[in-house]
C-alpha cells in the first residue's frame, strides 16, 4: 500500500479560500449534534417541578397578557380572529425565530471553554440550537391546534386552508433567518461585546415591527406598511396565520415572501461565511 505523499486529510494554512465550508465534516459530526440537542432538553428542565410543561405555559402566559393588554385594554384589531388564537399563532412563530437568533448569537462567547479545548465544526452548536427549537416549536404548534379544535367545538369555525402546504418552507425560512442573524451577531461579538447589549433590544424592536400584535391589514399608512414588509419575518408570520387560521380573502403575500426568501439566502450565506472565518481564530480575541 503506497500512500500518496500529498493526500493529506487535514490541511490548515493561514490563508484559506474565502469560502471553504466542508459539509461532509458536519455530516461526520451528526451524532454530536443529536447529543447537543438532547443535552439542551435534559439540561433546561432539570430541577424544575413542571419540566416540559413550561413549553406550554410560557407562550400561553404571553398570549393571555397580549389578549388583555393589546386586545382588551388597547382594543387593537385582530382581523376578525378570536384574540387569543391570533396572538398565540403570532407568538409561536415569532418565538421560534427569536429563540434561534438569541441562542445562536452567543455561540462563541458561551462556548469558549469548550471551543478552546477541542476542535469540531463549530456550526454544530448553532445548528443544534435550531434543531432543539424545532421540537419546542412543534410542541407549541400542538397547543395552538388544540386551541383551534376547542374553538371549533365551541362553535367558532377555524379551518386551516391549503396554504398549510407552505409550512415546511416557512419553517426553513424562519430557521435560516434566526440562524443567519445569530451567526452574524455571534461572529461580531467575539471581539467587541458591545452588540450583546443591543441584541435583546433589537429583537423586541423587530417584533413590534412585525404583525405579531396586530394584523398587516391594520396598517393603513403605505410608508409604515413598507417598513413592516421590510422586516423579513412579516410575510412569514402573515402567511403562517393565513394558513393555520384559514384566512379569508385573497392571498397577497407572494411578493413579500419572495423578498423574504431572497433576504434569507443572502443573509444566511453571508453569515455562514463570517462565522466560518471567525471560528478559525476567535480563540485569540474572545
Amino acid at each position: 500500500m503506497k500512500d500518496n505523499d500529498e493526500s493529506w486529510d487535514i490541511e490548515v494554512t493561514a490563508r484559506q479560500s474565502l469560502f471553504s465550508f466542508r459539509f461532509s465534516e458536519v455530516w461526520r459530526y451528526r451524532d454530536l449534534l443529536v447529543l447537543f440537542v438532547k443535552r439542551d432538553f435534559a439540561a433546561i428542565y432539570k430541577q424544575t417541578l413542571l419540566g416540559p410543561l413550561w413549553f406550554f405555559i410560557q407562550p400561553m402566559l404571553t398570549a393571555i397578557t397580549m389578549t388583555v393588554v393589546f386586545g382588551r385594554i388597547a382594543g387593537l384589531d385582530t382581523a376578525g380572529y378570536p384574540k387569543i388564537v391570533f396572538y398565540l399563532s403570532g407568538i409561536t412563530a415569532w418565538t421560534y425565530f427569536s429563540e434561534c437568533l438569541i441562542k445562536t448569537s452567543s455561540t462563541f462567547v458561551a462556548n469558549q471553554s469548550l471551543f478552546g479545548k477541542v476542535y469540531f465544526p463549530r456550526i454544530i452548536v448553532p445548528l443544534s440550537v435550531v434543531v432543539s427549537n424545532v421540537f419546542r416549536f412543534g410542541i407549541q404548534l400542538l397547543m395552538l391546534f388544540g386551541l383551534i379544535i376547542y374553538y371549533n367545538i365551541a362553535g367558532i369555525r377555524i379551518v386551516p386552508n391549503e396554504y398549510l402546504l407552505l409550512f415546511p418552507v416557512l419553517l426553513v425560512l424562519m430557521a435560516a433567518l434566526g440562524l443567519g442573524f445569530g451567526m452574524f451577531l455571534s461572529s461580531l461579538t467575539t471581539k467587541y461585546r458591545d452588540l450583546q447589549f443591543l441584541i435583546t433590544f433589537g429583537v423586541s424592536l423587530l417584533m413590534y415591527l412585525s404583525p405579531v400584535i396586530f394584523p398587516l391589514t391594520a396598517v393603513k399608512d403605505p410608508f409604515w406598511r413598507d417598513v413592516l414588509i421590510a422586516n423579513p419575518m412579516t410575510s412569514i408570520i402573515e402567511t403562517f396565520r393565513y394558513a393555520v387560521l384559514g384566512g379569508q380573502g385573497e392571498f397577497t403575500l407572494w411578493l413579500p415572501l419572495a423578498y423574504t426568501t431572497g433576504f434569507t439566502i443572502v443573509l444566511f450565506m453571508g453569515s455562514l461565511f463570517m462565522f466560518n472565518r471567525v471560528q478559525r481564530s476567535f480563540m485569540d480575541t474572545v
Binding site: 494554512t13 454530536l32 438532547k38 435534559a42
Partner: protein
C-alpha cells in the same frame, strides 16, 4: 523522515498574538488591517511583532508566540515537545488541534486526530455520568456507535460504576477526571495529541495515564506529548523538540534534548541571568539571588555528594527578621525529598552585601533518579522569592563488580546506614 511515512508536516508556522486590552485602538488596527488587505498588501501589524519574552517589556503590542516552526513527524513516532512556561508549546498544540489557526505557514496531517488538551471537555454538570460519556466521546470525535461498543470498558476503566446514573455535579473532582480520562483513553485515533493532562490527579492515576499512553504508542500510533515535565517525557518519547521563545531550539533524541533543556534551565542561575525578588515592597529593588550547582556534572554517583551554592545580594539587613534561603529537593514524582534552610540548626545569617551560601548534600543519601532543586526565600514567615527547577541532576548507582546492580531501591532515599551483627559466642 520524509516520504510516505510522514503523518504530520508543519511548515513555516508562525503565530502572532496581540497583548493588552481590546478597545478603540484595536478597532483602529482592525480597519488598518482591512484597508491593507483590500489593497492586497501585507498585514502591517505583522511587521510590528517582536520576540516573545515575558520578562522584558517590549515596544510593540504584538508578539510572536511561534516563529517559523518547521518539523515533520513520522508514523508511529512518539514526539515530546518541551520548553519553559510561555515558550510556545501550548500555542503549537492549539494550532495542531485546530483550536486556533496560524498567522502564517501551514500544517498538514494524515489520519484521524484526537487531541486531549483537557480531561472531560464538554461535561455538563446536570447530566449523568452515562450521558456525559456519550457527550464527551462525541465532542472528542467518536461516533455514537463507537462509544456504545466501548461503553462498558470505559465505565470499568473509570471505576465509577456506582455513580454512573448520578449527575456529574455530584462527583468529586477526582471522579470527574477519572471519567474524563476513561473516555479519552478509549479513543482510537491514528494521531494522539496530549497536553499536560497528566499534571492533574494523584500519583497513582498519573501512572495509569502514562501506562495507557505507552500502550497507545506501542501500537504503532503517533503521539505528540507536550510537557514541561522532562521526566515523563524521557520515559515516553523517542524524539523531542525543545521550544524556547517561539522557535525550535533543538530537535533530536529525547535524552539529548532533555539534557539540553536541563542545561538551558541551569542558565537561570548564571550571573547574567540573575533574577529579582518576586514581590514588591521593601524587597523590590537591587536584591538578587543566584544559584549554582557546585559539581557541574549532571550525572552524579550516589557516593559523591552534591554541593549547592546560592548567591544572595542584600542591600540591608533586618536583624529581627532574618531572611531564610530554603532549598527543596524534588524527585521525579514531585515529592519533596527534603527541605532545608540556612536558619535551620546552626543558623547562618545573611549580611549586607554579597552572600555566598553553600549547602552540601551528603553522599550515600539519595536514591537513583533525577532531582530538581527549588529555591525560595522567606522573611517573617512570608515567601518573598521562589524559583522552581533552578537546576536538575541525576544520581546514578555506581555499579560494582560482583554485586547485583539494583537500578533503584525501594523508598525515597537510600541512606548508608550502619549495620552490625552480634553473634552469641
Amino acid at each position: 523522515m520524509s516520504g510516505m511515512n510522514t503523518v504530520i508536516r508543519v511548515e513555516n508556522l508562525s503565530k502572532q498574538y496581540r497583548l493588552g486590552k481590546v478597545g478603540v485602538g484595536t478597532l483602529v488596527e482592525d480597519f488598518q488591517r482591512l484597508w491593507h488587505k483590500m489593497r492586497g498588501k501585507e498585514d502591517p501589524t505583522l511587521a510590528l511583532a517582536e520576540k516573545n519574552d515575558r520578562s522584558t517589556v517590549g515596544e510593540s503590542n504584538f508578539v510572536w508566540a511561534l516563529r517559523d516552526i518547521n518539523f515533520e513527524v513520522g508514523r508511529g513516532e512518539v514526539l515530546g515537545i518541551i520548553g519553559k512556561n510561555g515558550a510556545g508549546k501550548s500555542t503549537l498544540l492549539k494550532i495542531l488541534s485546530r483550536v486556533t489557526e496560524p498567522t502564517t505557514g501551514s500544517i498538514k496531517i494524515k489520519g484521524k486526530v484526537a487531541s486531549l488538551l483537557e480531561v472531560g471537555t464538554g461535561f455538563h454538570p446536570d447530566l449523568s455520568g452515562r450521558e456525559n460519556i456519550f457527550l464527551n466521546g462525541a465532542v472528542l470525535g467518536m461516533t455514537r456507535a463507537e462509544i456504545k461498543s466501548k461503553f462498558d470498558e470505559i465505565v470499568d476503566f473509570s471505576g465509577v460504576e456506582r455513580y454512573i446514573d448520578t449527575p456529574v455535579k455530584r462527583y468529586s473532582s477526582g471522579m470527574k477526571v477519572r471519567l474524563g480520562f476513561a473516555v479519552a483513553a478509549h479513543l482510537e485515533p491514528e494521531i494522539l495529541i496530549v497536553d499536560e493532562v497528566l499534571a492533574v490527579g494523584d500519583a497513582e492515576f498519573q501512572r495509569k495515564c502514562l501506562g495507557k499512553m505507552k500502550n497507545v504508542a506501542g501500537h504503532g500510533r503517533t503521539v505528540l506529548f507536550v510537557s514541561h515535565n522532562i521526566f515523563a517525557m524521557r520515559s515516553l518519547c523517542s524524539r523531542a523538540l525543545l521550544i524556547d521563545s517561539g522557535t525550535i531550539v533543538s530537535d533530536g533524541g529525547a535524552d539529548e534534548v532533555a539534557n539540553e533543556y536541563i542545561a538551558a534551565t541551569r542558565l537561570i542561575g548564571d550571573d547574567q541571568h540573575a533574577f529579582q525578588w518576586e514581590t514588591g515592597g521593601d524587597f523590590s529593588d537591587g536584591r538578587y539571588v543566584r544559584a549554582r550547582v557546585e559539581t557541574g556534572d549532571e550525572l552524579i554517583t550516589i557516593d559523591s555528594g552534591i554541593k549547592v551554592r546560592v548567591t544572595v545580594d542584600m542591600k540591608e539587613i533586618d536583624a529581627l527578621d532574618p531572611v531564610a534561603v530554603v532549598i527543596h529537593l524534588v524527585n521525579e514524582e514531585d515529592v519533596i525529598v527534603f527541605s532545608t534552610s540556612n536558619l535551620q540548626y546552626n543558623a547562618v545569617l545573611l549580611e549586607a552585601g554579597s552572600n555566598e551560601l553553600t549547602c552540601g548534600i551528603p553522599a550515600h543519601l539519595l536514591n537513583s533518579g533525577t532531582y530538581r532543586i527549588r529555591i525560595a526565600a522567606v522573611k517573617a514567615g512570608r515567601q518573598i522569592y521562589r524559583q522552581d527547577d533552578v537546576l536538575s541532576f541525576t544520581v546514578n548507582e555506581k555499579s560494582e563488580p560482583g554485586i547485583a546492580n539494583y537500578n533503584r531501591r525501594s523508598g525515597i532515599v537510600r541512606p548508608r546506614l550502619e549495620w552490625s551483627a552480634k553473634r552469641p559466642v
